[in-house]
Symmetry: C2
Subunit: 575 residues, 2 copies
Amino acid sequence: MPQLRLALAQVNPCVGDIVGNATMIADRCREAAAAGAHIVVFGEMALTGYPVEDLALREAFVAGSVQALQTLVTRLAQDGCGELATVVGYLDSDARGPRDAAAVLHRGRVVARQFKHHLPNYGVFDERRYFIPGTTLTVFRLHGLEIGMVICEDIWQVGGPITALAQAGVDLVVAPNASPYERAKDDTRLALVARRAAELGAPLAYANLVGGQDELVFDGDSMVVSGRGELLLRVPQFTEQLLVCDLDLAGGSARAQGRYAEFDVHRMILSDDSLAAYSPATPAPMAEPLSDEAEVWGALVTGLRDYARKNGFGSVVLGLSGGIDSAVCAALAVDALGADAVYGLSMPSSYSSVHSRTDAADLAERTGLHYQVQPIGAMVEVFVRQLSLSGIAQENVQARCRGVTLMALSNQHGHLVLATGNKSELAVGYSTIYGDAVGGFAPIKDVPKTAVWALARWRNALAEKRGETPPIPPSSIGKPPSAELRPEQLDTDSLPDYQLLDNVLDDYVEGDRGFSDLVAAGFAPELVERIVRLVDAAEYKRRQYPPGTKITLKAFGRDRRLPITNRWRERGLTD
Amino acid sequence: MPQLRLALAQVNPCVGDIVGNATMIADRCREAAAAGAHIVVFGEMALTGYPVEDLALREAFVAGSVQALQTLVTRLAQDGCGELATVVGYLDSDARGPRDAAAVLHRGRVVARQFKHHLPNYGVFDERRYFIPGTTLTVFRLHGLEIGMVICEDIWQVGGPITALAQAGVDLVVAPNASPYERAKDDTRLALVARRAAELGAPLAYANLVGGQDELVFDGDSMVVSGRGELLLRVPQFTEQLLVCDLDLAGGSARAQGRYAEFDVHRMILSDDSLAAYSPATPAPMAEPLSDEAEVWGALVTGLRDYARKNGFGSVVLGLSGGIDSAVCAALAVDALGADAVYGLSMPSSYSSVHSRTDAADLAERTGLHYQVQPIGAMVEVFVRQLSLSGIAQENVQARCRGVTLMALSNQHGHLVLATGNKSELAVGYSTIYGDAVGGFAPIKDVPKTAVWALARWRNALAEKRGETPPIPPSSIGKPPSAELRPEQLDTDSLPDYQLLDNVLDDYVEGDRGFSDLVAAGFAPELVERIVRLVDAAEYKRRQYPPGTKITLKAFGRDRRLPITNRWRERGLTD
């Protein structure tokens, strides 16, 4: 049986950094060549980063991508990587418009191109805004083996390019991807890749990006699955890594070029010489799937680290209230950037409990982050007295003096400010705009409150397993949540129990279910009505909230686009 | 020649208020029937408001729209409007998904439907995210006349439905629209409608919505153009109005139903009786086109008024610095809501000039808005001393204490806070996030600084022409702009001259032109590089900026979607 050594390059490009990304790709190609690979596969738009959004509409940017590809292919030949077939995603364009493209680089030339056919225009994706869909499929012959290409969404859609390639006959399909992380998506992904490989009757090599880009995290999880559905190689999530895998391929499977399943299939020859038989490399140890919490934690750390790093921040500052949200954000920041890059601030008011200070100090002690106390009493006093504030106005001034304090330290010392709100709060508007909502990044904005607790317990247990100090004070996990903006205040004064709240939010926000569906699911009508109204009324606050890592099926933001001005209420017409 | 009396109903629905919108539509139908109209045409999605964004994906919302249409048609028959053919835009769905639809209501039944074919997915539009395109065209016969329907974008695209209807033969085409305002779009629109009517060889009745919806303003400008390209009726911009127009139609132009220009054309009969000849009504006086400034002012007033009204705010509060931006915002607010609903606040610091206070007081005097002075010295002092602030941190604390003050008064009294920044500042990030950027709405966020001055002069001249007091202090117009955050500070310390800045921004932001294009256009390379870097680096601030009315071809926001994390610099590869 013909053999081929394939390398999957799971890389972390930065959007717009075409020169830096090209250098990184060249480095990985040298690594692949040194490992004896015959072909190396990178992710979708690895050269430009993904998603480039409206940069795709700028001629200068498209020209930059195309030019960098030419420079790269010359450099690869000079670097002794010319024999390695390099499949890399980039941005191209032709007379009809921009293209989400993959190129094959070989012996100093761009020898083949493939344009993405299925352009997702749902969820976070706007690809119909940018790209013209590809309508032909290119199959290239390497060492006598027929290799097809599909890009990302093209493997998710039933029928389409994979079906065409299956009918046309191929020995291998390579698939550059930019598939953002969502909880449990890795399970779906493996099943999908296995199904499509079985349909092909040939191995499918799936190369995903890794790393954070604004609200998205690409988790990697690149893999190769055989035509019999066996997992041959799986790259660990959230790591930059290049792994090789020796494939035994059928060979001789190609039918004539022509039209298959609505696609014109073109064939071209790079090299027709069969490889001499060789001893396969020791297979890389297969990455074990992570637990749910480990995976979410990995996504959150990656998202925060890359937002800070790619935007040039060396340190972060955040308010430490002694509560669970700020404690988890601090622990994430320490894991992402190291304790020395994290500045925590306790900002007690006259309504702050003793434990708000002791728990914050305990957190600082456990994690080793920089810690200081700045009481806000004097600041609040001036506003309340001069403006004669009372009630909610007085409560919010406290949160806003904290916001001003954090921003002042950011301006003075160059820290990135972290907003510590969770998804449940953001959903119902339980936050003070320009107060605790202040920040350049919000690490847990897509994490429901109940999941915040679960992550805290998981992270502490991990530390114990490793013989380290658990970072999060048990008291922060155990105590009832409070905003502490008035005496004896508890979140449950204003909100339902968090487990119940999260259950309703899960159906209303992620599931997009209406009032009657929610009631049919067993929730009390008054409860549903109350929560739905809170969620709808808080849209204006969410619009001004900082970006933060998406981990759920539907995050607030471009995943869920609702008008601010919106009189629809889920009881609808009888209102 | 057969006659027909057509009414254009230029209405202002609220997104989501299906019941309220249906009532408003029924009222307008009674008015049309009383005026002897045979057919009345409403705008696109008049029943649900437009754009509904992700509400289109909620089953309960679609069901609400469909149910309200049924209720409406019954009510129209009961109200004596059954003989009136009512063409109204609404949201529908079928097995394939949601549809951007128009219905014909007649004699108590929904007798015909038309689904939009061309779905815009550029600029502010995401219609491929929501809707399945229509592929058939419905032509209905009313009093023996053949009437076709197209929806919005369907008349903008060359070929397509209009070409099919021209080939199939029709006596009249009606076009429900939701066409957002942009500077000078009315000129384009008239030329377009005239061109398409000439292609049809039959009149085209274009009914647009009017009113504000978040960042969009629909300006109306509904019109009827004859098959010879003559303008027969034009409804004034920014007004809710129903106007009638008697048409002399060719009749007998219909060819067989079947396939024309890739569309299946279906014909159906509502009534075959020719109307007896009648004397035409006196034509409505033709709306004169507004001057550029009058049109922009109308859009800004409409956008602000509707944002406040539709979101339940009875009053607004804003900081008055004595400068041109806050003065123009105040004048807009007074025009939109009345002086008694506007609260202006002078918040001097130790760096504030004498004229900052006297000009603000003069503005209050001229407009009659509520005015108070709240010095921020004591507030700033606490932060600066306690946190040892200097430099930019100290400057920004002043803007942030003003932000906290405005929000406190909003919380205490229920006012909507207005952010007063202009587009040039927003472009280059010349604002303090959580400081002067605080607000629920930003009336002039899409108005370049040079246009702010022009609007101020125009508004004052208008007042003089009317014999009223010009609202904006001449000193605010004449003096050099300053943020007054440090002694003797001027905007020109940090920024190029505004005329030059706006010229570059016009090409870079609205024109999406790259570095070399800008240099080729005659701008100095250092200047271009400096401005481009400022614009790119301020993306994170714009994300957290309040919504405000779009008036240019490309507003910041969903019109221009760029990543925050973005290392692309317009000098590109040589960087």
